[in-house]
């Protein structure tokens, strides 16, 4: 559908690419490019985890897969492959609980290590934890709109 020269395909592809860019740039220093940067602090001054236990890798793999899945889903609709889009949507639905669990476990693990932003005393950790858990708890509610039954609506309307 084209709305005053801005078609849905371009708009939602741009949105997905922007989300992908923010995720990559945001986690480049502390994860994706960490073997190169070896940074100890984020640009905001927050400490970076000195090690990457398995839960962090699982968390990163799951969330990276979700972002790539988002881009793939948008493009599949753009090229008219809604059948494949629907099938992949079922995989995404299975991935969502995994993201919530690994996200919470990583947040708690980070708080114990003192590197979950802002990495301060316990009171600040709890604020951070609450923020993160609030973030994660809002995700399933929002992502439920992307259920296969609503696939056509959500994939084109966001």
């Amino acid at each position: 559908m084209t709305v005053r020269g801005i078609d849905d395909r371009s708009f939602f592809t741009s949105m997905a690419l922007a989300a992908l860019a923010v995720v990559f740039v945001g986690f480049a220093t502390s994860y994706y490019l960490w073997p190169i940067t070896r940074a100890t602090h984020l640009p905001t001054g927050r400490p970076i985890s000195p090690s990457f236990p398995l839960i962090v890798h699982l968390h990163a793999a799951g969330f990276s897969a979700w972002i790539l899945l988002l881009l793939a889903q948008v493009r599949l609709v753009a090229v008219g492959r809604t059948d494949l889009h629907t099938r992949i949507g079922l995989v995404a639905a299975c991935l969502a609980p995994f993201l919530v669990v690994t996200g919470l476990m990583t947040a708690v693990h980070g708080a114990r290590g003192g590197w979950t932003p802002p990495g301060g005393p316990l009171s600040m950790r709890s604020v951070s934890w609450s923020f993160r858990s609030g973030t994660l708890s809002s995700f399933p509610r929002l992502s439920s709109r992307a259920s296969p039954s609503a696939v056509g609506r959500t994939s084109t309307n966001g």
Partner: protein, 84 residues
């Protein structure tokens, strides 16, 4: 899926982006992305979709609310128990 990803998963990445004039540049992009679908609807469509605007504003409004909840005594106690 798009709003779920942008609203639910992007804030941690956005707050880790490099600073421009003292602000994480990703945070500005995050706000733009949350409101972009609604803004596009209002600017370009004959019939704007209010749901997109409400969800976008709800996501933004939830950020200070989460912070307030996180600073409450019960939340701190629960977090302390969880962190151990």
């Amino acid at each position: 899926m798009l709003l779920a990803t942008v609203g639910g998963l992007l804030p941690p990445a956005a707050t880790r982006t490099p600073l421009v004039a003292g602000w994480p540049v990703g945070l500005v992009i995050f706000i733009v992305l949350v409101l972009a679908p609604a803004a596009r609807d209002f600017l370009c469509r004959a019939q704007p979709r209010w749901l997109g605007l409400l969800v976008g504003l709800g996501i933004l409004a939830s950020i200070p609310i989460r912070t307030l909840v996180g600073m409450s005594t019960p939340s701190r106690a629960f977090a302390a128990w969880l962190v151990g």
